[in-house]
Symmetry: C2
Subunit: 433 residues, 2 copies
């Protein structure tokens, strides 16, 4: 509770600081992290040792290791990149004269206090810390326990750096225990947004435990629908890229729907391309029977169960089924998908438009890989996360996802009672300036 | 649960309908309500009788009465006014070439399914129903039990009207019991937003009981700060208007902060103006002592208790205290206010700017009555409510508060694997069109 109060207090100051002051603080953080690389890497080695002793998975250990390749330098550069972004604070979205001398302005302002919960990767603390300060938000950070020594060490370095700047040191606070997170999830008076970065289970459990808005996505069940006119080559290429480019990504495809009137060689091309790429293909009963006949000895062809069409495989596995119509494809996606990103492959512009109108997902694509659903690829400069919420930020979220807005009204002693509807007879001019 | 599923199904169709079709449906609702005025008013008389027998308050009975003055005709005109608004669906906010032939578009789309909970006033069903259909959203409506016969009758008329249009009848569903609301508040798979329109207690209890985003405000504790250079006349006029123009409004002022170095006659003018307007003034100890000396026999001058500065009086009562500085005023408002609308009275532009930067509320005003915080006055055409949330919609919310957005990407078979960062060497062009 004290942590949340301190964060709110810091946020109230941070909100008033100029871009110059916020940017200088980021440079100070960058320099300090660079100058204390040795100390940080020492703590990181301790975490790595403990992880090895605890027999954690090689994948996790790889994520922990801050000395791997150019990870440390990339992290440092990331802080400078965020510092160089355009200032998101104060951007004007309305400027309107309500009456002579009475002017309304709507400007972007920080959300306030963020609670960011993430797992093993230690560089996230620098990345998220930079995004928070750049956007004028205070952040409370909770990292996975596997990286606790690295986090502790980085947090100290960052706080020391901030102490010499105008940005209050409590703008970035690190917490260590799960119990504290549980407490903080109830502090809706002081915390404005929770950002979980980690497994689906983490996101789901946080969404269940708080009434504070949660930015993120629990699932990424993306679908691709091949319309009856889809060409074999394009369908195969897009589906293989969407599945195999990064199978652990939330924007990887998990379900493929094929119009039952497509030519058999479209189906065959898709299957062969997937199999060649090492993908296990789970086919719905009808399709399975046909495919088994054509490819009797292929071990990676499997009959799908019903729940496969509600599953995020996050692996080289995909579920495939026939649909009778475009509408059935749309209905299937709206019911079974996770409203993340879905795609239609077709040459028919009317069908594409109907699909893009009908599918209720953050991204609805036409003849393009689902893997394009990404803040960098969309040109946002940076990515805070991908949201399957419909309110506030949806889809890939850039710095603007950390912004709210405020209405500033400037008058000369104007009172409402002089206007029509509130007792007077003056009319509003409502003239955009 | 069935209700929520049916609403989702209706929303999926409604989302695809053109503005013409949605607008025609509103005209059909208007005509049908007009043609069945007698039946509706008969049900309304029954509700009124029951309310009188149950000895409900005259204020409540007045809100119930649909035959009072031109209320019915105003309601009918309201439906046509909403029909005439610009179509909010499909408005483009990004149009960007990511690469040759790969174009990203961001367009406004309906949120989906709204759960609207309101109290006695029966005309709200037509008003909210019209806003929902115009914006492509399905709505589940729950009205207060005092108007149940009127609601039932209006809902039937509206469903009969919709049955003859392209808008699915389940786009507007009425529910009658509290138990059903409790169930629906858990249907986060099917319901996207809850809009409570009613008492603070209603809003607070709903916010506590759901993880679905709630649009609205529980409290409206607005403050006005008179800076040390505030002039007596402007301060008195703005404060009196903010308090008395509509004391039950959420944008009425509840707390007045006065810089302790203001001239005594500024304080005196404010007090006298408030007392003349029939306002009870609760003064913090120091101020109370001074005011008592000057106006010894004034019964409407009362010493304030601490909790008066955390109270929304919703009546002709205001709490007043001295502050030592502009910063103390800002801190007081951020801590004790409800982040709705606050105002500074000053001729000093630097102090005004510091106040507008430092106060973390939806509206931060300078020399203007807090009563201007209103969708109509801001020029939004209509008002869905006023939000003290920081995410999604903040402040007075027009039709755009019922909108989300989607990313539509159109390619020609583009795959991510060809681009830098995902295994290839092509670069994005990121050119806004």
């Amino acid at each position: 509770m004290e942590i949340a109060k301190a964060a709110r207090k810091a946020a109230n100051t941070l909100k008033t600081l100029s871009n110059d002051k916020r940017t200088s603080a980021l440079k100070a953080i960058h320099d300090h992290l660079r100058d204390h690389k040795d100390i940080i890497l020492e703590s990181n080695r301790l975490d790595l040792q403990l992880a090895e002793q605890a027999d954690l998975s090689p994948a996790l250990i790889k994520r922990l290791d801050l000395n791997k390749g150019d990870k440390f330098d990339v992290m440092l550069q990331g802080v400078l990149d965020v510092a160089a972004l355009e200032d998101p604070v104060g951007r004007q979205s309305i400027l309107r004269e309500l009456d002579d001398g009475l002017v309304l302005e709507r400007v972007a302002s920080p959300v306030g206090v963020l609670l960011v919960i993430f797992e093993a990767r230690p560089e996230v603390i620098a990345n998220i810390g930079a995004l928070a300060i750049k956007s004028g938000n205070a952040a409370i950070l909770k990292g996975g326990k596997e990286s606790s020594h690295t986090f502790q060490s980085m947090a100290e370095v960052i706080r020391t750096a901030l102490a010499k700047t105008s940005v209050p040191t409590d703008s970035l606070q690190l917490i260590a225990t799960r119990e504290k997170v549980a407490d903080l999830l109830h502090c809706d008076k002081y915390i404005d947004m929770v950002i979980p970065r980690g497994s689906n289970e983490l996101v789901r459990s946080i969404k269940r435990s708080t009434t504070i808005p949660v930015l993120g996505h629990a699932d990424g069940i993306c679908s691709i629908y091949a319309n009856k006119d889809a060409t074999a080559e394009m369908a195969a290429e897009i589906i293989v890229d969407s599945k195999t480019n990064y199978p652990a990504g939330c924007n990887a495809v998990e379900t493929v729907l094929i119009h039952q009137d497509t030519q058999f060689d479209v189906l065959r091309s898709i299957l062969v391309a997937l199999l060649d790429a090492g993908v296990t293909v789970k086919l719905e009963h009808n399709l399975y029977t046909r495919a088994r006949e054509a490819l009797p000895d292929e071990p990676k062809i499997v009959e799908a169960a019903e729940e496969d069409f509600d599953t995020e495989f996050l692996a080289l596995t995909v579920a495939v089924k026939y649909v009778e119509s475009l509408q059935e494809a749309i209905d299937h996606i709206n019911e079974h998908g996770s409203h993340h990103t879905d795609c239609i492959i077709t040459e028919n512009a009317l069908d594409a438009a109907a699909f893009q109108k009908g599918v209720d997902s953050a991204g609805v694509f036409w003849n393009a890989s689902t893997r394009f659903a990404d803040g960098y690829r969309y040109g946002f400069g940076t990515e805070v996360g991908i949201s399957t919420n419909k309110l506030h930020a949806r889809g890939p979220v850039g710095l603007e996802g950390l912004m709210s807005y405020q209405y500033l009204l400037k008058g000369k002693g104007h009172i409402a009672g002089n206007y029509v509807g509130a007792g007077g007879n003056r009319h509003f001019t409502h003239k955009d300036l």
